[in-house]
Symmetry: C2
Subunit: 256 residues, 2 copies
Amino acid sequence: MEKRKLIFISNDDGIDAKGLYSLIEIAKKFGDVFVVAPEDGQSGMSHSISLAKPLRVRYLKNSPELTICAVPGTPADCVKLAVNQLLPAKPDIMLSGINHGSNAAVSVVYSGTMGAAIEASLYGIPSIGFSLLDHSPEADFTIPEKFAAKVIESVLGEGLPYQVALNINYPKINISDFKGYRICKQTPGLWSEKFDKRIDPYGREYYWLTGSFLNAEPDNDETDEWALKNNYASIVPVKIDFTDYNTITNLKKRNI
Amino acid sequence: MEKRKLIFISNDDGIDAKGLYSLIEIAKKFGDVFVVAPEDGQSGMSHSISLAKPLRVRYLKNSPELTICAVPGTPADCVKLAVNQLLPAKPDIMLSGINHGSNAAVSVVYSGTMGAAIEASLYGIPSIGFSLLDHSPEADFTIPEKFAAKVIESVLGEGLPYQVALNINYPKINISDFKGYRICKQTPGLWSEKFDKRIDPYGREYYWLTGSFLNAEPDNDETDEWALKNNYASIVPVKIDFTDYNTITNLKKRNI
């Protein structure tokens, strides 16, 4: 008899997020599910880790088929603690999300969902981050609920290259308009921020971060933003090597 | 008369760190200095941003030659607020650090110092993150104090490619043993964590994160870890495109 698969799940919207339970339901069909998720919402926490405070573990559910723990830390903390301390074995796959909101383009850098998936991939675990382009706590996860299994099957069957994770984003559209998956590259561009300056009831200034994404290649059909605008779900394979190899040659010519 | 340069500085060790004031002294020779740094230590905060809380600004010094503000946020928050709201003009260069501790190899992913430098580079500002391989609050910054100016001069004079930042690490050695700069790539590998499990005075378990870096290419003299072990300062040009282009071809062949 084949050994049951072990599916490790985390997220950045925290232990109470609707998208987490949507992902647990999807994962259950593939084997035993072990969830280690942040106690609180950790959107925008990127790849941060807790160096100045210790971590604790609260078990909400503890059975062989489904374990759910909450940790008062970041998504990357949850992954490190799970892999090194909590999981009963090395998982066959790691799933992160489903995030409420986009992690396409440069948002991958700020994303706690992808911070968790990338962290798991560093340990050699095939990892997938799932996001839906809907920030609402009551977002409708029908499309990933129907189509995520296909990618999970492929990754469980054929694996992923060492230390590569997938960043998958689903458009917010009717399922009848959904065109399927498209393999993409990360859209180049940047966030254009506008701070909303306000005065508190005590007369002191404060600022709220707001902004919009400036797409540097809006017509490039190889990008994730293009795919999402055209009713596809985008799949970007991601790997953590920040080195800009082109610039190495340039710098070596300088007198530094 | 040439316009005075505007040097923007941030860090992740916070407004009171010794390394910040070391960097301010280095920068003063090049023009007006504008510092926006976190109120508290933000080591390990990566590229995280504050979405759930507003930001405030506390001015410690405010003169044309030197402005110093503290912001109760992350390093990337400081950069976003500075660039969009606080700086009198687009800076000629952004300097981050000097960090107390290494940001070589995969530590670049967790680093708040590099989170700030990369964030500034996304706005098209030539940016450099400086780190010294010494965690001590009283670390000796003699080597960067003597040699950082050379790189700053090169970047002010010749610039950097769009959205590229430099990740510079200095070894903890006697200055007489220092061999100069070496252009490198990010060392591949991963952190091997070990959680230190303890019991608090109330009988509850908690965990401290500890670990060591496993170098996947210890003998490769093109890596930053090799350079640092051999008494060089490492310079890695970094750029934020997480896409793993090799894997795109692989995935396109699959039935997803």
